[in-house]
Amino acid sequence: MNFDARKYVIITFVVLVGLIYAMRIFYMQVMDDTWTLRAQEIAEKRKEITPPRGVLFDRNGKKIVSNRTYYNLMMVEADIKNLDTVAFAKLIGWTREEVRQRFIDIREGEGVYRNKHTGKTTPNYQKIRAYPFLKELTLDEIANIAPHLEDFPGFYEEVTSMRSYPFANGANIVGYLSEVNAEEVDADHFYKPGNNIGRAGLERYYEKELRGRKGIRYIVTSAMNNAIEPYADGKYDTTALQGPALKLGVDILLQAYGEKLLQNKRGCIVAIEPSTGEILALVSAPSYDPNLLIGKRNISTNYPKLLKDPNMPLLPRPLSSEYPPGSTFKLLNSLIGLQEGVITPESGFPCNKSVVGCHNHPSAGNLADAIKHSCNPYYYAVTRRIIQQGKKRSNFEDAEIGLNLWAKYMHSFGLGQKLETDITGLRAGSIPDAAYYDKWYGHHRWAFSTIRSISIGQGEVMLTPLHMANIAAIIANRGWYITPHFVKSIGKSGPLPEFRKKHYAMVESRHYATIVEGMRRVVHEPGGTGKRAQLKDIIVCGKTGTVQNPHGDDHSVFVAFAPMYKPKIAIAVFIENAKGGGGLWAAPTAGLMIEKYLTRKITEKEREKIILEANFVYK
């Protein structure tokens, strides 16, 4: 038997294996880029250099948010030799159990790699890579540990940058940072796990500017994660660029003073420079020291406490709390009445307490005196004239037209909508219109008598303190406002275009003189409700408000601007449950703030002492 033909079987095998392998390699190398990507993942390490964030200055060039160096205690498990857990735990001030648990947490925290092709998973954690064992140690803390690290091979220190707040004020303005979550990493390729992101306030609103540009170095790395050489001689590398500095309109000393005045109170102060719309101070009380929320360690201990505090220090009240404006709202009803021609500056209405309660004062014979006395029956009459102008025979239809007109005026003052201020947490408040009441009472089932509480800023009208301060700014400007904002300039550029635009209210500027005069009388004439805001050399124009509160003591409100001519500051003060009218608590607070800002000193020491000692929280 001849077996020579069998050589063809063998030759076929050899050639087939060669062909199949060549095809397979052609597929792997030329057609499928999965392996190229995997190779990059393995060997071409992108080393990201996160620059320090942009810093924040106040209007006078004081640094209010800066960066400080911190230290991470890094760990490479493969380098750890005969770790004396007891001694190590003692060194860092932990228990042995905590140290052991930390190792487990690090390993599990790294997650797993999933092979697309095989669907198999491998842990990302590698013994030869460096992981932070302790994060964000201060210089003092690392100084105690670092000298002893020689005894613990596998551990070393690493420098990192974090925020610091030299003034401990304005926490609700600047916000805070914390580590990105998984969704944020997915949504924006800028972030890698462990990176920080602005969580609130300006840190969040200006995140894209402040974070700067990451530097990227491509390096060829070994399995030990050591850099071997720059990839492609550094051709694709970029340098890290710190985010630009933000210059704020905030006066940090005024802010600090405001926070001090509101100690032991719940409330807000918002101060605006009327001519520019720059926010000078935005006090939310109670607040917290922003240094409490620096870094993971601080956040994990302090954040839950702040969150559970019944006085809600994390809430930026001036932006997020909606209150009825109380009598301060009478200023706007006066202006609309004048513009609509339903009253004149000389209009007088009797103080008829049978309609609505009022305090004892002579009946107002003109508009300015009505403001000075804050006469409730007067404003019922004024607002009735605005709402019921007699354009329709039916009272209901007439009220519908009138209220919608009124609401349109209110919107032109920036009310009932979110102001486009450069911060997060803003709320719109509410200005009721016909549709609103239709829902409650039915179409054409209501008239002025039903909704009359809007004349004195009660009932369905809701404003944030920022809105209230903006009203003061509009009156100070005699008819317009620039959207209140924090940032004067980003780096070297000037204010953003949206913060240069004047918004005109629907009331012409000629009508403001009477209102301003009324506001002057509130503060500077005997019998005025806001005489506690009086200053010696500065004419303060203001309006008090007392907001009835079904849940407790009345809130105390005051809006004001000063000086009367060429105003430099417009302000709203809102103190919750102050057990007294606007004149008693809010007015003197505003007066002190104005004096502090305009003169840098306080003459009314007695007034200051009373405010500082007042306690409406801890009883």
Partner: protein, 465 residues
């Protein structure tokens, strides 16, 4: 003097030149892979490339020795040579284990692996044994004896343990197949023991070895591919599950085989060829389907065991880790490669691919030279294997032919398993790529194997048998 002249004249230069080219390429790849900046000199003997050059020198010297000795000695002394390698295989079992295997004889890096040399001894004895057998009268005794020659060293190697070389020894079965020593007598005995059955020959028994090879190869590839999805971006991102790509490949090969056989076979054989191809195609597809779905139907612990063996599962030794990284290195080479000395995944320094200068040397080569380089390398190996088969077939002496086949089959197995390891087509069992991988024992044993072949071939006319 005359003898040397005749050697030069009768040396098979094409094979010798391809052998030399592979040696040079291998040294160049080891140099690139294991490059150490502090020792840039390629002749620095403290470095792996320096040592590899030294091994090449030793191998060439051994080759010269082989040439100077009369080729008759291999026929005459094949039994002592075989026994000597067996003794070495026994001694090595009492040596201290390196990496968990008793494979090294000698001290440190100067040690040798007797298993590598056992291939030569076994090849020679097998050639001698089969060449003396009258294959027309093959019986159970012949088959068992031939198998025993292979199985004794295999058993000793398994004791080390060295799974890679163990598998390589099955390449001798192909040589037996070529010479007509098959398992047919065994199967006949079993079949004919059934009353009333009287076969002279069974097809399965005669072709048992190639069938086994196809079954194992196809099963392993199907299992490994069943985890993959091939993506064809130039076909609009068409995705083909791994199993179906196996079926498609089988169909294409069946068509090609059909056409080839149709053109080259005689009219008489044509119908039979068509039948064989069709039958083979149906069987192969059936096997792939059975393996694919059968595997999925297995119990988890059985699945785990198979996946562990194939390196599809992460195990304490990290086979999947090696395989995954090796494939990343090969796959990232692209069409033209990253350039010499530019391997980023598989350089020794980066250490992402362990053993990248020995068992995984194909990784840095494929990464640096891309598909073009792979194509050239495959061309060289294919040429070498086919040339050896051609040389085998031109021998007058059966001993020479059989020995030449053992060389061809051993090299083929090393090629198929080693490259397969690098591209995810074979389990990671750790055997070197001939003439390429760093290592003294494999370099010397492959070279001696090659030189004995060249020597036998150069004297083929002197042999009367």
């Amino acid at each position: 003097m005359r003898k040397n002249e005749s050697l030069v004249a009768h040396l098979d230069w094409p094979l010798f030149i391809v052998y030399m080219i592979l040696l040079i390429m291998g040294v160049a790849t080891v140099y690139s892979t294991a490059f150490n900046e502090d020792h840039p000199n390629i002749f620095d003997f403290s470095q792996k490339y320096g040592k590899q050059i030294m091994w090449v020198g030793v191998s060439l010297f051994l080759g010269l020795m082989v040439f100077l000795i009369d080729s008759d000695i291999y026929r005459k002394f094949c039994v002592p040579i075989y026994l000597f390698t067996l003794v070495l295989l026994v001694i090595v079992l009492f040596m201290p284990a390196v990496n968990g295997a008793h494979a090294w004889l000698g001290i440190g890096s100067m040690g040798i692996q007797p298993a590598e040399f056992a291939k030569i001894g076994t090849g020679l004895l097998l050639a001698r044994f089969i060449s003396n057998v009258n294959v027309k009268q093959q019986n159970i005794q012949t088959v068992l004896l031939a198998n025993a020659i292979i199985l004794v060293p295999m058993a000793l190697i398994l004791l080390q343990p060295d799974a890679g070389t163990f598998v390589v020894f099955t390449s001798f079965l192909f040589v037996m197949y070529r010479e007509g020593i098959t398992y047919d007598p065994l199967i006949l005995k079993m079949v004919n023991s059934i009353p009333g059955v009287k076969f002279k020959q069974t097809w399965v028994g005669s072709h048992f070895i190639p069938i086994l090879f196809v079954v194992v190869f196809l099963s392993v590839v199907t299992l490994l591919m069943s985890n993959e999805t091939l993506e064809f971006s130039w076909l609009g991102g068409l995705e083909i599950p791994g199993f179906w790509s196996v079926i498609i490949a089988l169909t294409i090969f069946a068509l090609i085989m059909f056409l080839i056989l149709r053109f080259f076979s005689s009219r008489r054989d044509r119908n039979r060829a068509t039948f064989v191809v069709l039958f083979g195609y149906i069987l192969a597809s059936g096997l792939a389907t059975t393996v694919n779905y059968g595997f999925q139907g297995l119990a988890t612990h059985q699945k785990d065991r198979i996946e562990l063996f194939l390196g599809l599962k992460e195990d304490p030794d990290g086979d999947d880790y090696n395989r995954n990284r090796a494939m990343a290195a090969v796959g990232s080479g692209g069409f033209t490669g990253k350039g010499y000395n530019k391997a980023s995944v598989s350089s020794v320094e980066s250490n992402h691919v362990p053993e990248s200068e020995t068992d995984f040397i194909f990784c840095p080569f494929a990464e640096e030279w891309g598909f073009l380089g792979v194509f050239v390398l495959f061309g060289l190996y294919m040429f070498m294997l086919l040339r050896i088969i051609m040389i085998a077939e031109r021998q007058r002496s059966a001993f020479n032919r059989i020995y030449a086949y053992t060389v061809a089959m051993i090299l083929f197995y090393h090629f198929a398993i080693n490259i397969g390891m690098n591209i995810g087509f074979a389990p990671v069992i750790g055997i070197p790529l001939p003439f390429f991988s760093y290592g003294g024992s494999s370099m010397m044993s492959f070279s001696m194997m090659m030189f004995i072949l060249l020597k036998l071939d150069s004297q083929r006319r002197d042999v009367l048998q």
